[in-house]
């Protein structure tokens, strides 16, 4: 039940885009068509799913005060360890996918290197560290929820943008401006989820 709560909460209430503004850059740049944005969303979910549990274990058994050596607090190193881990994992995932799943690589391939510097991934790790989960199961649930929430948001905006291209928008608002305003309106809609009582 706890897991389900966390899952629903990270998709709808703490949505990465609408509440926390994580991964906005690729959200704006790659949301012109539905198919590419779903591809990117899947890649982000996949990388979150792999990196978050690893970062959780690193945080718990290496970085926390007194975790590795008694009396040593390495938590100030967490940024550099997390980003190095993410960059390494993304590189490995890219090579594995290229070798064993060429079809998947064809559709995700171009996005994978970009994901290393997507704030949604590092942001997920840092928020996870802040939430201080009890065990690795919560970290995996949180990763899946965040990823699916992000996928959901980028797929919605891509669908809206496909329709928007047929609308008559004032010239200065075209492209970026209207995308921001539409995202703002979607965020208002998502605010209504914050009243949900869970558990």
């Amino acid at each position: 039940m706890e897991y389900l709560n966390l899952f629903i909460k990270s998709i709808f209430i703490d949505n990465m885009i609408f509440a926390l503004f994580l991964g906005m850059c690729s959200y704006l740049a790659v949301s012109k068509t539905v198919s590419t944005s779903v591809g990117l969303g899947c890649a982000v979910t996949f990388v979150l799913f792999i990196t978050l549990p690893i970062n959780y274990l690193l945080d718990k058994y290496v970085l926390q005060p007194n975790a590795l050596i008694e009396g040593v607090d390495l938590s100030y190193l967490s940024f550099i360890i997390f980003i190095a881990n993410i960059a390494a994992i993304v590189q490995i995932v890219e090579m594995v996918v290229e070798k064993f799943f060429p079809a998947l690589y064809g559709s995700l391939g171009i996005f994978l290197p970009l994901i290393a510097v997507n704030c949604a991934i590092l942001g997920g790790s840092l928020f996870m560290q802040q939430k201080e989960f009890e065990n690795v199961g919560y970290a995996i649930t949180y990763a899946l929820g965040d990823g699916i929430g992000w996928l959901f948001a980028i797929a919605c905006i891509a669908a809206i943008r496909e329709k928007l291209s047929y609308s008559n928008i004032p010239a200065p608002l075209k492209g970026l401006g209207i995308t921001f305003i539409v995202t703002g309106l979607m965020a208002i809609a998502f605010m209504s989820f914050s009243g949900i009582q869970l558990g």
Partner: protein, 210 residues
């Protein structure tokens, strides 16, 4: 990225080639830290420092970094600088550092850094790279500051925590202004930034999408 010639290196990013509203870089933190002006100002200064130093360091190293591992090298340089900034913030302005929470750490993956390092620092001498870093950092800080001013004034009725509306508007007899909580919500940040982009593109027609 047309006006990256030397004369415009510093002044260009402030308005006509602004990193946030024109190059569309670094949106995440620009939206998240702007509910209050103080965190926004601190964030702007932090990012400017990190960007200027990172630009200079990468520019000095640009001929020695192998092309294949340059992203990792950039990330490590930036992450080291961000750790320093984070420790300084925790030591001197602890309350602001709490308010910024993870967004200081997210300077590492702020697209302004990777974007400027890739587009400018890897191909230019250290001094222009320093100017580019300062210009882009200040352009980012400016957008943060404008958004934060609007959101704090209308959302909480204060400026830098000083109660402006209660003191001047309501006491002068025009009472009845209620703080509009909407401006402190995430959605307001997106809409305000959309309006800034609208204004900026209306003033610079050559930036508009066809």
């Amino acid at each position: 990225m047309a006006n990256e010639k030397k004369p415009g290196v510093f002044t260009g990013p402030l308005w006509t080639n602004n990193p946030v509203v024109v190059q569309v870089l670094g949106i995440c933190s620009a939206l998240a830290v702007t509910t209050q002006m103080k965190p926004a100002l601190v964030m702007g200064i932090s990012l400017t420092c990190v960007l200027a130093f990172a630009n200079v360091i990468i520019s000095v190293l640009r001929n020695t970094i192998p092309n294949r591992i340059r992203i990792i090298v950039q990330l490590v340089v930036v992450a080291a600088l961000v750790i320093i900034v984070n420790q300084i913030l925790k030591a001197y302005v602890y309350d602001v550092s709490k308010a910024l929470s993870v967004y200081v750490g997210l300077i590492i993956t702020n697209c302004i850094l990777m974007g400027r390092l890739e587009a400018f620092a890897l191909g230019n001498k250290p001094f222009p790279a320093l100017l580019d870093g300062l210009g882009n950092g200040l352009g980012y800080a400016m957008i943060l500051f404008i958004t934060a001013t609007i959101r704090e004034l209308f959302g909480s009725g204060t400026l830098f925590g000083y109660d402006v509306i209660a003191r001047f508007v309501n006491e002068a007899g025009y009472d009845g202004y209620q703080n509009c909580g909407f401006f402190t919500m995430p959605a307001a940040a997106l809409i305000i930034l959309g309006c800034i982009i609208w204004y900026q593109r209306a003033k610079n027609p050559d930036l508009q999408d066809k």
